[in-house]
């Protein structure tokens, strides 16, 4: 295994120059500057020949005027100026650039030429490039934030163990905003747009060795031609240490080309990529919703020791659906041992089912949940607990949330996932439970995916 790619200058630079910075409210150059000023602790050098002193900063006419070598150069100027700026950055000694600007390969043959020229210059000076046509890099830990999206439009999520790699800027921005809303912690994120240089393979490897990161979420539309082999090698290595969940865009565009063999005719669509992901032990997610759901569980929970799931519910139907879905994802819902069943039987009236799921029925009280959960957790017969608590019957109160959380924290080696369905009171329970760091899902199917995701990596961290 080769050493980790050196991309520190992107995520932990001592100084950042912003070429194309602007004091004009509402401009892209202003948004980048504002976001950096808010959290970034290193030196900021705005570059724009029109200004001298704005926003309490000294502005520079060009990169060459800056008194030191900016470790990272963020470029947000018209595409045709970019090659010149890159050369200047190279002469200055900078070795990392984020090119926010669009108007390159994505825009047609002329843009393609411009991108090739920029790439040649970057290679000549040994500059690593994120972009062009991207929103760039984000690091909650150092405050590096090249996203040109203002905080009131895209909230920044709390710090946490997740890294996101996204080919799409819009996807990344919306998932970050959503994560902020859901309180899901994100450490680092990157969008590389046209991936002229740095791509998903580099980023996967970099985050793979990053101790701040426990989970990697990816959205890509494909790897660069010829890059697949390296992708597999890197992913195989990384997934030994931490889970990687990937959503692939563009699964149907490939089409069946004129194929000389049977094999080639069958290789259309997404089939080869899907096989590659399995080989690399990457969890494939088919929907954005899944990516979120799995990410939430992985961010909050420990990895279980095994895949035996114990279910405690007050609702028969959702319990059955839960079992069906868990089995579908290859998890075990073992029937409890006779002695455990006997203990449970003695605790509850005969209407309560005790085999697994434990169905406390609609009459269940907070105390019933407490007894059942404690007994099942302490039996040593399960590795994961799913609590289904429907709040529609009149007996349960939202204090159940704290009660579940107390038991979960006392037995933190066993991950807990909670399912509740419904409106106001369900939301209240959800808030109570999630406030204590236990993930809640509104449907059994979604919770099952989350269980699958954490159990998938029982050998991780």
């Amino acid at each position: 295994m080769s050493k980790r790619p050196d991309l520190e200058a992107f995520f932990n630079p001592s100084s950042i120059a912003v070429v194309g910075a602007s004091p004009k409210p509402g401009s892209l150059g202003r948004a980048i500057l504002d976001n950096l000023l808010l959290r970034y602790k290193g030196k900021i050098y705005p570059v724009n020949p029109k200004y001298q002193n704005e926003l309490g900063l000294k502005w520079y006419h060009s990169l060459s005027e800056i008194p030191e070598t900016p470790e990272l150069v963020v470029i947000a100027v018209r595409a045709d100026f970019v090659p010149g700026i890159l050369r200047e950055a190279g002469e200055k000694g900078s070795r990392a650039a984020v090119i926010i600007s669009g108007g390159f390969a994505e825009s047609g043959p002329k843009g393609r030429e411009l991108q090739d020229e920029a790439y040649r210059i970057a290679r000549e000076y040994g500059i690593r490039v994120v972009g062009p046509n991207c929103i760039g890099v984000y690091n909650a830990l150092t405050g590096v934030d090249t996203f040109f999206l203002p905080h009131d439009r895209m909230r920044r999520p709390p710090r946490g163990p997740i890294a996101i790699i996204s080919q799409s800027g819009a996807f990344l921005a919306s998932i970050m905003d959503w994560a902020a809303l859901e309180g899901i912690g994100i450490a680092k994120a990157v969008n590389f747009g046209n991936k002229m240089d740095v791509d998903e393979v580099d980023m996967l490897e970099y985050f793979g060795w990053d101790d701040d990161i426990r989970v990697i979420l990816m959205y890509i539309e494909g790897v660069k031609p010829g890059r697949g082999r390296r992708f597999i090698e890197v992913a195989r290595e990384v997934t030994r240490r931490k889970p990687v969940i990937l959503l692939k865009g563009g699964k149907t565009s490939r089409g069946a080309s004129a194929a000389a063999s049977h094999t080639a005719a069958l290789a259309g669509d997404h089939a080869v990529f899907r096989g590659a992901l399995k080989q690399a032990r990457i969890i494939e997610s088919d929907e954005i919703l899944d990516l979120f759901d799995m990410g939430k569980a992985l961010a909050h929970l420990r990895f279980p020791r095994g895949k035996r799931v114990g279910i405690v519910t007050n609702a028969g139907g959702p319990g059955v659906i839960m079992v069906d879905n868990l089995i579908r994802y290859g998890l075990d819902v073992p029937e409890f041992s006779p002695s455990l069943q006997e203990r449970l039987k003695q605790m509850f009236p005969p209407r309560v089912a005790v085999k697994n799921p434990v169905d406390l029925t609609g009459d269940a009280s907070n105390e019933d949940y407490e007894k059942a959960l404690t007994t099942v957790v302490e039996s040593g017969e399960v590795d994961i607990i799913v609590v289904i608590a429907l709040m529609q019957p009149p007996v349960l109160t939202v204090d159940l949330g704290d009660l579940i959380a107390d038991i979960a924290w006392k037995h933190h080696e066993i991950p807990f996932i909670v399912v509740t369905m419904g409106s106001d009171i369900a939301k209240k329970l959800e808030e109570r439970v999630e406030g204590r760091g236990i993930p809640v899902y509104n449907f059994p199917e979604r919770a099952a995916r989350a269980v699958y995701a954490i159990a998938h990596c029982s050998k991780c961290g």
């Binding site: 790897v223 597999i232 063999s261 049977h262 089939a271 080869v272 096989g275």
Partner: protein, 231 residues
């Protein structure tokens, strides 16, 4: 040891995009992929020599660079039990082909041991723009034709990956034996997949490989038909 490179180079020189069946078999055999014994008879007088080298029953197949679907032109005769049958089959194949495709250049007739019936599976390989070497496994017949129940893996491939492919198809249970059918030799299949992988990895001029069908048994497996695309 057959020189795989030489076989491919010669075919390319002759302007062919596909190896002849006999060439394909020698290439496969060079990578320890089990092929039933065979002999290319280039003339009727050559047939006797060939017939004596291959165990019965025989299947006889026309070998021609111009024929894609051998059966469609009456170029395949199965279940031949003796030399007399070989001669008759040879003549019939020649007649059929000359009638249905008079312009086809005929290199000869392949005399091959007709392997016992087994579970038909398909093993394939190709080059992908993104992943380079790709291998495929599936069960034959409707599983692949209608259900597209196949599994792909890419380079770099290990023997474990090849074994995993066998469990990656929906009809995986068939390989473990269902309805009184025996379980299949999984390792033999994985070895064939791995052999196809190596063949593609080590020979850049091979573009696609179809081994269809491969006969899979309780012990071992045989490639019953092979197509290798070069370029």
């Amino acid at each position: 040891m057959v020189d795989v490179e030489k076989i491919i180079a010669r075919a390319l020189e002759e302007g062919r995009r596909k190896l002849r069946e006999d060439e394909a078999y020698s290439v496969l055999a060079a990578y320890n992929i089990p092929v039933p014994e065979y002999c290319l008879a280039t003339s009727l007088s050559d047939l006797e020599r060939c017939a004596g080298r291959v165990r019965y029953p025989h299947v006889l197949k026309v070998v021609s660079r111009d024929i894609v679907h051998k059966s469609d032109v009456g170029g395949v005769i199965v279940g031949v039990r003796d030399l007399e049958g070989d001669i008759e089959a040879y003549k019939r194949i020649m007649d059929n082909v000359r009638r249905k495709m008079p312009e086809a250049r005929i290199e000869g007739v392949l005399v091959q041991w007709m392997v016992p019936e087994g579970l038909e599976v398909i093993v394939g390989g190709l080059r992908d723009r993104f992943f380079d070497t790709v291998v495929m496994f599936g069960l034959g017949g409707i599983f692949v034709e209608v259900l597209r129940d196949v599994s792909f893996r890419v380079a770099p491939l290990t023997m474990d990956d090849a074994l995993e492919m066998l469990d990656d198809i929906k009809a995986r249970k068939v390989l473990y034996g269902v309805r009184g059918m025996p379980p299949r030799d999984r390792e033999a299949l994985a070895r064939i997949i791995y052999g196809v992988y190596r063949l593609l990895e080590e020979n850049r001029n091979i573009k696609e490989i179809d081994l269809n069908p491969v006969m899979s048994y309780e012990r071992g497996a045989y490639v019953a038909d092979a197509r290798i695309i070069i370029g």
